[in-house]
Symmetry: C2
DNA sequence: CACATTAGTTCATGTCTCGGACTATATGAT
DNA sequence: ATCATATAGTCCGAGACATGAACTAATGTG
């Protein structure tokens, strides 16, 4: 039922099949050409030709033939770990981060700079980020990894490479893609931190559903604000104006107090870090964790209360989006031991008979977004290797 | 980023381009071959070949050449009104309905049988529906319209042609596609009424956004229950288990009373027809409308109260899904004059700064779902004409 | 050592779209 | 009238690509 907008041509056919083959290799490596042919429906001869293109582009590697039951042993195909790499960057309220990931998704460089960025000039923070990016890029080069591009995670709304606004950082209309692109010479993308965290969790979090990686879930990221990333069919759901998934501003208390966003009774207002800390009468998240571990009742009540509000918001999410799982990330992952019981109870109290999705806890913590950012860069190559080949060819001739 | 699962072959290329051309003709008829070529990016020669296939399949018609500015006049291409037709059926709590739609979307037969189906045996109701379908099919035949298939709208959860459950009708595990298929000899699909109503509204409701048809919106259908249809990018959003969009069970009062679904404080429990009628102290929806027209304060308060609750639910929908518009359908369309002010105020009270989507009122009323059902059948042909050609060819030789 | 079995390559074939040449049919200027 | 120009649509050779069958390669089994 999809509306087709582009003519199908021979080049597109090849591009599509290259992606099909590379995707199969990425999912199930090591595999043989014959297995790829059987699983994709392409013929052996087609697969041979496609694979040979991918090998000469450096995206796929042959490794030692593995003996099979009988017959000629299969030559194993793997993603080339040195083929392409992606640079993930993150600007957040209290840290900057950079990660370089190779084609297989393995992190090859990782650096975090903790510093509160709220009071600072935008230009200063951007300059720091570019420094960080350059250092990461040098590391990639010294490891022989050609960077295909970069992606920056920011805690706010982004449209086409620009930061539209980041409520908790106070930025507005910042052309981050332009600045970082100029500073590094890379093609740069900018994307919401919650969405990237969701993708990072999907690709690298190790969660499974019925033996396959999660593809339909909602990721809740509890940083200073509360964000949400909706993933449907393995892709981020952005809505009409890229504003979808703002879980922090779902109404959980219709008669509640005014929130910073201008609404009333939003989840972030009722269960954000500020509210939890105030109720628990502690100063920092670290202090809150200690208090919970010590069994402090005020702290436990504060977290459980937040868990109940979170459950109300998630009940609406479940009703509207019907995901297979909910993943709790960021601060909610840290607080999970004292939070999930209240959240699960609240979800079930508000959803009734519907089969509830699984409530999972993030394994990546605050790294999810940067890793997701780096992942999007290499995934883009995997999803459209033909575009990558074309760029390579252009560089070779031009 | 889409995961490709099928090999691209020459046949698929042709199928894709047939769909591209037919889709262009459907959207902008009348058009010439040259215009189609310019707009799709295909060459004139390719378009000629594709069009000639579509004409011999009876999906496209040539009409009289229209004189242009200068040069050879263009022969106009249109969807063939007699090419294919779709049968839309609807089982609802208090009526059955059938519509036959031709390729252009024009309704060519329409019949509604009002009767309360709640107490009745499932088999009886299904038998009535099959009767209705047969009569509609005879009418199509006598008009020379070959039916390509049928689609049944039901007020509940459906999976692969079967009705899983319809809370307000009391059905569970009914193989409706099988029964109607056997009774009519057609290929039958079964789909949620709210989703089909949303599609009907999109295709036939005449709404526009920036000059183009709506493609990202949420349709609220207020029948006996409250349903929701989420349309993103022109397609229904179903979630992981086809349960998405259940707007009626979004939480609007976390401490509210228990709802029939087992949850608490659901929109349907707080603002459904039963609740409104009780508060307004009238017996029927017709009575409610009269009371509102007469200025009865209890009725007006009841409707405004429902509007406020609806606004809370829609605020969460807007925050999570970021649609361009909300369309109020069914009973909410009828009550719109006394409802929308409270709803709009409640939305803005609970969403704050976010640019609010437009609040539209359905033009189709309770016909939206059947028309959407008939529409899906013909749209399927338009979206994949190659499959239709293959079926035609199979019938001709077999 | 012959034979079965599986992996991967080669090449002729068929099916597409493309692009340019060609035909058809109009308007407007000379 | 006649010619230039412009636009619509067809025809046909060239090129790209997947297919499928035949072929080569490399292993284990009786």
């Amino acid at each position: 039922m999809t509306v087709r907008t582009e003519p199908a041509q021979h080049a597109g056919m090849r591009a599509s099949n290259l992606a099909l083959v590379l995707g199969e290799v990425a999912r199930t490596s090591p595999v043989s050409r014959a297995q790829v042919a059987a699983r994709t429906g392409l013929t052996k001869s087609s697969v041979s030709g496609l694979v040979s293109d991918l090998i000469s582009a450096g995206l796929i590697q042959e490794s030692a033939p593995a003996a099979t039951e009988r017959g000629r042993p299969a030559t194993a195909l793997n993603l080339a770990p040195g083929g392409v790499a992606g640079l993930g960057l993150e600007v957040n309220v209290d840290y900057l981060a950079a990660v370089v990931t190779d084609l297989t998704g393995m992190p090859r460089y990782h650096h975090v700079v903790r510093r509160d960025n709220r009071g600072r000039e935008v230009d200063e923070v951007v300059a720091d980020l570019i420094d960080l990016a350059r250092t990461a890029a040098r590391s990639a080069t010294s490891q022989g990894l050609p960077l295909s591009g970069a992606c920056v995670a920011v805690p706010g709304l982004t449209v086409e490479g620009a930061v539209v606004r980041t409520p908790n950082l106070g930025w507005a209309r910042v052309d981050l893609a332009g600045a970082v692109g100029e500073g590094t010479g890379l093609e740069v993308d900018v994307e919401n931190e919650a969405n990237l965290a969701a993708l990072g969790e999907m690709w690298f979090g190790g969660h499974e559903h019925d033996g396959a990686p999660l593809r339909d879930f909602v990721h809740v990221s509890g940083e200073i604000g509360i964000g949400g990333g909706i993933v449907i069919g393995g892709e981020v759901f952005r809505g009409a104006h890229a504003g979808a998934g703002e879980l922090g501003h779902v109404v959980v208390a219709p008669d509640g107090p005014r929130c910073g966003c201008g609404g009333h009774g939003c989840l972030e207002r009722m269960a954000g870090q500020q509210e939890i800390l105030a109720r628990a009468q502690v100063e920092t998240m670290a202090g809150l964790t200690r208090a919970c571990e010590a069994g402090d009742q005020a702290a436990l009540d504060a977290v459980a209360g937040a868990g109940r509000h979170l459950g109300v918001a998630l009940a609406s999410v479940i009703t509207l989006l019907d995901p297979t799982a909910i993943v709790l990330g960021g601060a909610f992952a840290t607080l999970a031991p004292w939070l999930t019981k209240a959240t699960a109870a609240s979800i079930s109290h508000h959803t009734g008979a519907v089969e509830p999705p699984r409530l999972l806890v993030s394994g990546l913590g605050s790294d999810a977004a940067v890793r997701g950012a780096a992942g999007t860069v290499v995934r883009r190559v995997i999803a459209d290797p033909a575009a990558h080949l074309a760029r390579q060819a252009a560089r070779a001739t031009g």
